[in-house]
Symmetry: D3
Subunit: 162 residues, 6 copies
Amino acid sequence: MIKKILLFPFLLFPFFPSPGTHDLPQENSMSIFGLIEYADASPEVRAIYDDIMATRKTDWINNFWKAIAHDPVLLKRTWEDIKQIMAPGALDPLTKEMIYVAVSVSNQCEYCIASHTAAAKKKGMTDAQFKELISVVGMANETNRLVAGYQVEVDERFKIRS
Amino acid sequence: MIKKILLFPFLLFPFFPSPGTHDLPQENSMSIFGLIEYADASPEVRAIYDDIMATRKTDWINNFWKAIAHDPVLLKRTWEDIKQIMAPGALDPLTKEMIYVAVSVSNQCEYCIASHTAAAKKKGMTDAQFKELISVVGMANETNRLVAGYQVEVDERFKIRS
Amino acid sequence: MIKKILLFPFLLFPFFPSPGTHDLPQENSMSIFGLIEYADASPEVRAIYDDIMATRKTDWINNFWKAIAHDPVLLKRTWEDIKQIMAPGALDPLTKEMIYVAVSVSNQCEYCIASHTAAAKKKGMTDAQFKELISVVGMANETNRLVAGYQVEVDERFKIRS
Amino acid sequence: MIKKILLFPFLLFPFFPSPGTHDLPQENSMSIFGLIEYADASPEVRAIYDDIMATRKTDWINNFWKAIAHDPVLLKRTWEDIKQIMAPGALDPLTKEMIYVAVSVSNQCEYCIASHTAAAKKKGMTDAQFKELISVVGMANETNRLVAGYQVEVDERFKIRS
Amino acid sequence: MIKKILLFPFLLFPFFPSPGTHDLPQENSMSIFGLIEYADASPEVRAIYDDIMATRKTDWINNFWKAIAHDPVLLKRTWEDIKQIMAPGALDPLTKEMIYVAVSVSNQCEYCIASHTAAAKKKGMTDAQFKELISVVGMANETNRLVAGYQVEVDERFKIRS
Amino acid sequence: MIKKILLFPFLLFPFFPSPGTHDLPQENSMSIFGLIEYADASPEVRAIYDDIMATRKTDWINNFWKAIAHDPVLLKRTWEDIKQIMAPGALDPLTKEMIYVAVSVSNQCEYCIASHTAAAKKKGMTDAQFKELISVVGMANETNRLVAGYQVEVDERFKIRS
């Protein structure tokens, strides 16, 4: 929303480090407890950060992990769950990432949409795929409510167990 | 929820037609205006029904369409939108169907979960794929709220436009 | 969902009282604490029931009130709020009732959809109005997610204060 | 949220064009693919833009359309659906717009609340009507959950089909 | 919803085992893959079932676990997460269970409301506590939407980091 | 999201009053009708403001109340409801505040998360309690969807009325 004016400070303070090109602590960054940068992390947290970067073949940690690192138990559990769930399996990693985007769009979680859309692109999602994904999410949200409004009951044929 | 006792009436009234094996009108079936069966449909509605069955290579119409057929304009618009959106494109039809299931599970729309899970199976979804799909949906719903609770702001790197 | 077989018991037990034509206690009816019928209500609860029936010009109380009557403070507060909010004002009662249906459909609250659709009909909602209402609710749910997926920022023109 | 400081840049750069008074491209504006301005639009997209402006009797296009114009099929389908659904019918356009606001508030879609509130005002919504609308939306969201918490079952009387 | 007629079959078939008093397989029970009973479970699944019963000091397994047991990886991960999260800590187990109910009511998940309300009662929740819990959940859902409708921005004082 | 640059204006305009340390009107603050400050409030609104500050033992009013004060009937009703609901009872005020946070996180209402987290802290919530609270909210949102995806039906044992 305010992204367009984020450039102004840098026009005024050209010595201010450019965002997105380094991993220095963001002094005023938010999140309820602030963000734990790699340099400030405990060995326990740093080990998770290392595993995240190794698994994702990347050299930085996004804010989500730095924010929940204040609860190392949550950090460890969430990372291990995500690592297990998002690994290649019966579904390929890109399909899983697009499903993640679909849920996040449906829930209107701005952070999650931005981060998982970026992750999906990194895994090969094309613009055309993204567009079709969003169309399906929109349509599903519409028909979910048509069903509710018309009070449609489940067809007997759909009740057959697997 | 009540599916297990649906068999009782048939024990009592063996002459009663078995559900799921025919398309006769369901006399007491619900939905706010009832269901419009093929035999009772106007030519306009019947044309949509025919197109649904031809497109899906099936010989029956599920309750959703029979319920919204009371508003032929809605029926036509919804079918044409779905037909366009769910057609093969940059994403294959199975992936689209699984995204539809993901949204419906996230929204907890019982009818939509049942119908699109059935549709996904028909398009080849294996049990293993379904299980991984649901795991991703569960995880996404969890982290969507962790992000909200910790008030995580979007990383600058995720704000780069496509 | 199970409505179609609700008739069976009456075929079997013709002496069983017909639903919807009396206000006798429903012995096996659910809700976490059961339902408080008028005959069993405290004077405090009965006074609210009387006001509900007088205000709505009806001679029965629907399950919602009978269920929350177990918390008389909640019953009183909720009724007084609803009475104030749903009274004729800048918006007519039918429009308010349709907005109530719109929210309930969007939230997929089966009870609320059924009860407020019935209330809207009593206030004059035609089938044609209901159909257009549901179409708008479906469309709004779709575009709400298109906005999220495409990460659209608010136009400056929309930020002008009233 | 940050709207109050949007004025600062203009204090510093008085030659910067004032927002909301022109339709020049917003260089740094967001949305995942950026916004397609009229001047840069394909004939296909421009035709939709023209129809939007003609139908709405306005001379500008809001960000939603400019954002989804990257998918011309989506742009066309969404516009045609909205045009059909929001046209005068059994419900007047203002009532439809207020229902749209109700759903968007319930879903907490900031963009949709801002844009459809503006649209409703343009169609004649008074401040008093807006206030009553929001009160109903708030109340419906409350009672939707009271129903769930108390596990209230639908009254037989509400199951009567139309 | 249909609970009141669940008694009818037993009137007709008095030899039919009473529900809720045994753990025999429910032949017609639903869930997409059916339920895996203890007797039919693999050693891997049975070990989780044993840990659930030991941890909860109970002698039965509720449907949720029997349903997801078809995905033993999900069963294990979910149980271990729940066991860790719901253990006594800075918050006592009853408070945690009530928070679980609050979220489930807000999301309108019928199963989760029923199961976690039962769990909270087992942990000592009184009827008075339940009633206050539901009132808070209702109110929070209302004001969440008042905030959205009035587009209220966060106070500076609330932005102070912990 | 933009909080980090909120400091820039003060670097540029050191005479500008610091946010969060006074209650002067925020000239450009948002909310659809702006905020009604104490100095500008009608006696009717001022009486509610006084009661809010007296009840909460504080000397300022947060934006939510200033925003809805444009509808004095809503202001009065909402405050009286909140005052009644959040008062000490069978549940202590801190537990109620944490339930409020849980719902707001689940609904992803940024304002409500910020304001009720602040309120909970004022009532004694520790960081450890907050962390456990968010973990429960995340887990509940996950299992709510696992239940939906696996279409789990409610156990008979959970249907026993209180």
